[in-house]
Structure formats: structure tokens, C-alpha cells
Symmetry: C2
Subunit: 400 residues, 2 copies
């Protein structure tokens, strides 16, 4: 993190989980018990750490001291052995740190269906714990990366009646990105660390609402992962008066949401093969749900995504995708704009001049596409990327 958060330390080592000489095992530790809020993937196929995490959270004890995270191996579809490995990692780290095994959370990301190399992980734990330092959080942010090309961190600060409170976050994710995370229950990972003193129930609620407006509204390939996880730890060391629903909740939640949106945008920008970061807005819908479903259908269309890659304002593909989303439309009412260039008006094209201007808009790395259905007042937005030759290259060869 570019900014320290009181009482948090980090460490990362190369355990050789999948590759040699690459940081792949990270540890985040809090000096004091920290209130944990967490959301996990709603995929029906869940990684071992998600199953173990749900079980841990169901016990209603929200305080934790440490989070261990590995890349290179998802520990998903590994059966009972996979869950046993999660517990074993908790024990190994707890013993080395001199804390309770229940106070350690685990997350994994990487290839599905392979056993964790527990020998190598066990061997690495002592140096992992020994390496903990205030400056070590950046190394953790590096250790969680897989096909990512850049480290993703962000930090926000707020003043609570004269007390400065910090919230910082790290994230990873470039492929299998179509997060759908919910109440204790995305392969994106994100860890949020704050020195705020918070009411545990409010903290969980604030995380859920913020995730639903940010990480859950991005898609690279639409493939919701078995491992998506966001954990937010607040250790209270800033010494502010406790934040809850009625006290500073709204303003703190605003910076939390802004932080997560920053990380979410970093994920899309660094998405596998992504060359365009597109904000897709569907407005003029009858309901927010319809707008959301139509936006996701467009964002998932291979033809729309390849046209983005080709910088071709091929609006027919966008309208065709909207038309197959499952809701009645009136094609004569539809309009479409790339940034401020309207290229479809009342269902038909605005002509070559407008398309040439739209082409220029698309040449930029980031632009907005606004589809107005002309049916109502509701809207939804999705942040998405294009589908490039490199996406195929990366994913045709990921395991080999």
C-alpha cells in the first residue's frame, strides 16, 4: 500500500506453489483483533477456502488476527482434502504467530483441481511470519497476482471528529472475472485494511453494499469464479469513536465504495488481453433489474467485445445483444451514444459522420457507451473490457 494503516503488517515469500522464484504466499497480520467483514463467490462450485470461510463466519465471532493468501493454486474442486488443507494452514500460521487458529483466514487463487503443495507451504511459513513488517503489505499485493500485469492498491482517508482514519485495499484479478459476491457467502481477491473502530454488523453491511455497487458490476469474461473473495479488516487502532449505522456510517461507506471502485477499475484495466475499458450504461429502462440484465448481456457479447477491440462502432451488435436479453423492447425508441457522439437515434443509424467520430472516441483506452431504451426512468452500469487476440492466447495456454 502506498500508505500505512496503523497496526497492520504484511509479508510475502516464494513458496514455489506453481512457479519458482515468484512471490506466491502472503500474510496480512493485525496487532490487535480486527473486525472481519467478508463476501464470497455465489458460484455453486466453491473453493475450499470459501467453504471453510463460510463455516468460520457462521460461528458469529467476527474478530481475526491474520489472513494468509496463496496464488498459483485455487484449492478448488479438491474435496475434503482441500478443506483440511485450509485448516492445516491456519494451524501452521497460528502456531508460528502464537495466536489462535480460529483467528486466521485463508484465501487462494490459481488453477482449479490441484492439491496444494502442503510440504512447500509448511516449509515457507516460518520465514513468512518472520518477514512481517509495516512495509510488507506491498509484497502481499504482489504475491496475490496471477495473470495480472500490475499491482492493484488504493487508499482513502477520512476525518472522524478530529481523528484521521485510513482505509486501504489491494486486489488481484484479470481473468475469470464476472464477480457475483454476496452476504457471507468473486477469481478476484481483495483485502481491505482499516484502522477504523467499527460496529461489526455495520461493517459487514457496508462491505456488502459497497461490493454490490463496485466489484459485482465489473466483467471481463463473465466467468464467475469459484474463489472470489473480499475480506475487510478493521482493527480500531485509529482510536476514533465507533462508526455505525447512525454515526459516520454514510460518509465512511462512501470512501469505502470509492476505494473498491478504484480497485475494480484497476482490475478491468488490467484484464486479460484488455485494451479498452468501457463503461456501459443502459438507461431508459422500466426497471433497474432489466437495465442490469441488458447491460450484462451486452458486456458479455463476444461480437460486441471484438468490435470494441477492433475500434469498430458496430452498433448493430449492441442492439442485437440488447434484444436477446429477455425483455420486451421497442426498437424504434432506442438511441445509442459513444461518449457524447450519438450514433443511433430512434432505432436507426445516425450516419457515417457520427460513426467516424465514434471511431475516434474508441481509439482512446477508456470510453462510455450509453444505450437509452426509451421505455422508462431506470438505469444500470457495468464496467467491462474488450475481447482481444491476447485474451484467447492467454487462456488457450494458461495451464501449459
Amino acid at each position: 500500500m502506498t500508505c500505512l494503516v496503523h497496526g497492520f503488517e504484511g509479508s510475502a515469500v516464494s513458496a514455489g506453489i506453481r512457479y519458482q522464484g515468484r512471490l506466491d504466499l502472503g500474510l496480512i497480520a493485525s496487532d490487535e483483533p480486527a473486525v472481519l467483514a467478508a463476501v464470497f463467490t455465489r458460484n455453486e462450485v466453491k473453493a475450499a477456502h470459501v467453504l471453510a470461510g463460510l463455516d468460520r463466519l457462521s460461528r458469529g465471532e467476527p474478530y481475526v488476527r491474520a489472513v494468509v493468501v496463496n496464488s498459483g493454486n485455487a484449492n478448488a474442486c479438491t474435496g475434503n482434502e482441500g478443506v483440511a488443507h485450509v485448516h492445516e494452514i491456519c494451524s501452521l500460521v497460528a502456531r508460528e504467530m502464537g495466536i489462535n487458529s480460529d483467528d486466521v483466514m485463508v484465501s487462494s487463487t490459481g488453477v482449479i483441481g490441484q492439491s496444494l503443495p502442503m510440504g512447500r507451504i509448511g516449509d515457507a511459513v516460518p520465514s513468512l511470519v518472520k518477514g512481517l513488517s509495516e512495509n510488507g503489505l506491498e509484497a502481499v499485493a504482489d504475491a496475490i497476482l496471477t495473470t495480472d500485469t500490475v499491482r492493484k492498491t488504493a487508499v482513502r482517508c477520512i476525518d472522524i471528529e478530529g481523528v484521521g482514519v485510513t482505509v486501504a485495499g489491494m486486489a488481484k484479478g484479470a481473468g475469470m472475472i464476472g464477480p457475483d459476491m454476496g452476504p457471507p457467502r468473486a477469481t478476484m481477491l481483495s483485502f481491505v485494511l482499516s484502522d477504523a473502530r467499527v460496529d461489526p454488523a455495520w461493517w459487514q453491511g457496508a462491505l456488502e453494499r459497497s461490493v454490490s455497487d463496485t466489484f459485482n458490476r465489473i466483467t471481463i469474461d463473465g466467468d464467475t469464479s469459484t474463489n472470489d473473495t473480499v475480506m475487510a479488516l478493521a482493527n480500531g487502532l485509529a482510536g476514533n469513536m465507533e462508526i455505525n449505522d447512525t454515526r459516520y456510517g454514510e460518509s465512511f461507506e462512501a470512501i469505502l465504495r470509492d476505494l473498491l471502485q478504484d480497485l475494480a477499475r484497476q482490475i478491468v484495466r488490467d484484464g486479460e488481453g484488455v485494451t479498452k475499458c468501457v463503461t456501459l450504461v443502459v438507461r431508459g429502462a422500466r426497471t433497474r433489474g432489466e437495465a442490469d440484465r441488458i447491460a450484462r448481456t451486452i458486456a458479455g457479447s463476444p461480437l460486441v467485445k471484438t468490435a470494441f477491440f477492433g475500434e469498430d462502432p458496430n452498433w448493430g451488435r449492441i442492439l442485437a445483444a440488447a434484444g436477446r436479453a429477455g425483455f420486451p423492447l421497442d426498437q424504434g425508441l432506442i438511441s445509442l451514444a459513444f461518449d457524447d457522439i450519438e450514433i443511433v437515434r430512434m432505432g436507426t443509424g445516425a450516419g457515417k459522420e457520427a460513426e467516424d467520430l465514434a471511431k475516434k472516441v474508441m481509439a482512446a483506452g477508456e470510453f462510455t457507451v450509453v444505450l437509452d431504451l426509451g421505455l422508462g426512468q431506470e438505469e444500470a452500469r457495468i464496467l467491462t473490457g474488450d475481447l482481444s487476440i491476447d485474451y484467447v492466447r492467454i487462456n488457450a495456454n494458461y495451464r501449459t
Copy 2:
């Protein structure tokens, strides 16, 4: 067609609709009024010929004499002008043929959002009609192609109490293939021609049921087109006793379905950039609807499709896609096989040896993937292709 069908003639010309020197305008004509059955895309955004076709069919007069079809331009999202152009084509062709304008159907495929070049089409109609011949149907099958690389035709024959009856079909389609066609209401086009004498209501029903089992169960990119159209013409010239629900309906429908399945498979094999033709079977589901939805989610997953392209039996991606389809699963009950090689048993991998064998299966151009959910007795199958570098290349540059 490799086989003549009594009383049908075809003709095709290069009208210069989008490219010069390429067959792009075709005509199918029947000597006698033929019973028309038709299904069109259920996309909410519908091409002009679909809107005009629905309107024509709603008048309940099932006999037609001719079908005109153009490639290079979808005449979709072209407003009232587009529909007027359809009527104009009907009039031009009817006048030249000396028949009624209502007896002419139109279909289009190509780029969305551009006006048909009516001047060039009008100029081409006289030579189009003049060129009609029994051997001209193959030229029509060529004229409907867009990004297709091969002509797609098939033919079946059946004996009805000593009378030989023929049914032949042609199709096109390589991209924007995720057909969802229904009772009078892909961009795939298919024309089925038969000399059978048929009951009109039975003919429409037989086409709907057959399409729902064949064309509607293929997907290349999942992008349901604004133009998908199947028209089946039966002119009765074989002189058989009329086929209906109770008389030879079942056996004739079986060959119709077999014909359409043949054409559907040809479409997937020639799909844009497709190097693998995969039959995806989801069984052990609680309901057929769930099996269907899960199969379509897997078939639409970019990660699964790129793994097919890479010949990587990356089963974790298949399970992850199944898990996000929206139905409760028990991951511990899932098994998965590539042809007869089981690579997942009870939710976990069967090991490297099995995966190496599965890799060999994938090296073939066609294979079957069977996902057993272990929950029930229902199943569904989808025919799909992989996602290759060429798919992206073709679609990033389609309009330029």
C-alpha cells in the same frame, strides 16, 4: 442441392450489394404454390424481413411461390424504410415472374444498420428471374453465405406408400450464431424445399419442433441474431397422399429433423474461427430446463471455449461455469468425461493420466463432453465450437 426437388428452381446473381463479383442475391421459385412454414428470431430487435414476414404470415394464407434472399446487408435497424424495401423487392420480383406480390418472401443477412442498395437490386432482378433453373439451387446456397467458408446443403428422401418424397435444405451461418427461433415470430438462414404434399398446420408444427431440437441447440458465440430465419416450402409435386399429424407425420418429421441437424452441424463446423466441434451433454439434472441452461452457460463461457481451442482439458473452468448457471448443485456429486475418458469423479480430478488421455481426445476436430450433475434423470445437449484467435480476428475487422 445435390439432389433435385420436383418443381423447384433457383437462381443467383452478383448484385454488388456489399462486394463486387460475389453472388449476393438469390431466388428460389416453385412451379406450384407451396405451403410455407417459417420460424424467425425471437430477438426483440428484428430485421425488416422478419417484421414483414411476421405480418405476411399473420394473414393466415400459407401458400407462396418464391423466396428472395440477399447477403451482405441485414436490412436490420433500418426503420420504416427497411420494411418498405422488403415490399418493394416482393413487387419487383413478382412483376418479373408474373405472380402475386404476396406470394414472394424475402430474407436478408449481413451488416446491420445500412440501407439496402435498392437501385442495384432492382437492376439485378430481371437477370435473377431469367436465370431460374433446376440446377440453380446450388448457386442460391452460395449466394447466402457471408463469413461462411463452405456451402451447406443436405437432402433426405422417404417413401410414402410407394411414392418417393424428397426434402432438401440449405443453410448459412458462421457468426452471430445463438439461434432462438420460434413460432412465427438466427444470423442463420435456412431454406428447406420439399415436393411433399403436406397439411399446412402440421408442416408449421413439424418445422417448429424440428428447429427447437436442432438449430436452436447450436451456439457459436451465443449472439442471437436479428435476422435468423428458417423457411420450409412444400409444393406437393411428389403426388403423395397428404402428410399430416396422423398420416406419416412422425416418420417425415424424423427425416426433417435429421436434415436440419445435418445443416446445424455444418454451421458449427464452419463457425467463425471454429477448430473444434463439441457436443456438450449435461445429464443427471433435476429438470430439462436446468440441464439446458447449464449446458448453454458452459457453451458460452469464454474460458471453456479458449481451453477447447488450446486442447486443454481444463475441467475446473467447466465446473465453474456450471456453478454460475443459477441452479443449486452439489459439487461433490459432479463427474465429467471427454468422450469415454472420465476426468472428474465426485467433484475432484481423476488425475494426470486421465487428463493426458482427454488431451488426445481434444486433438480430434470433434468430441463430446459429458457433465453428470448426479442430481436427477434429465439431460440436454448443445452443439458448440471453440473460441480461437481467428474468431477475434474475423470479428474485430468484419465491417472494415
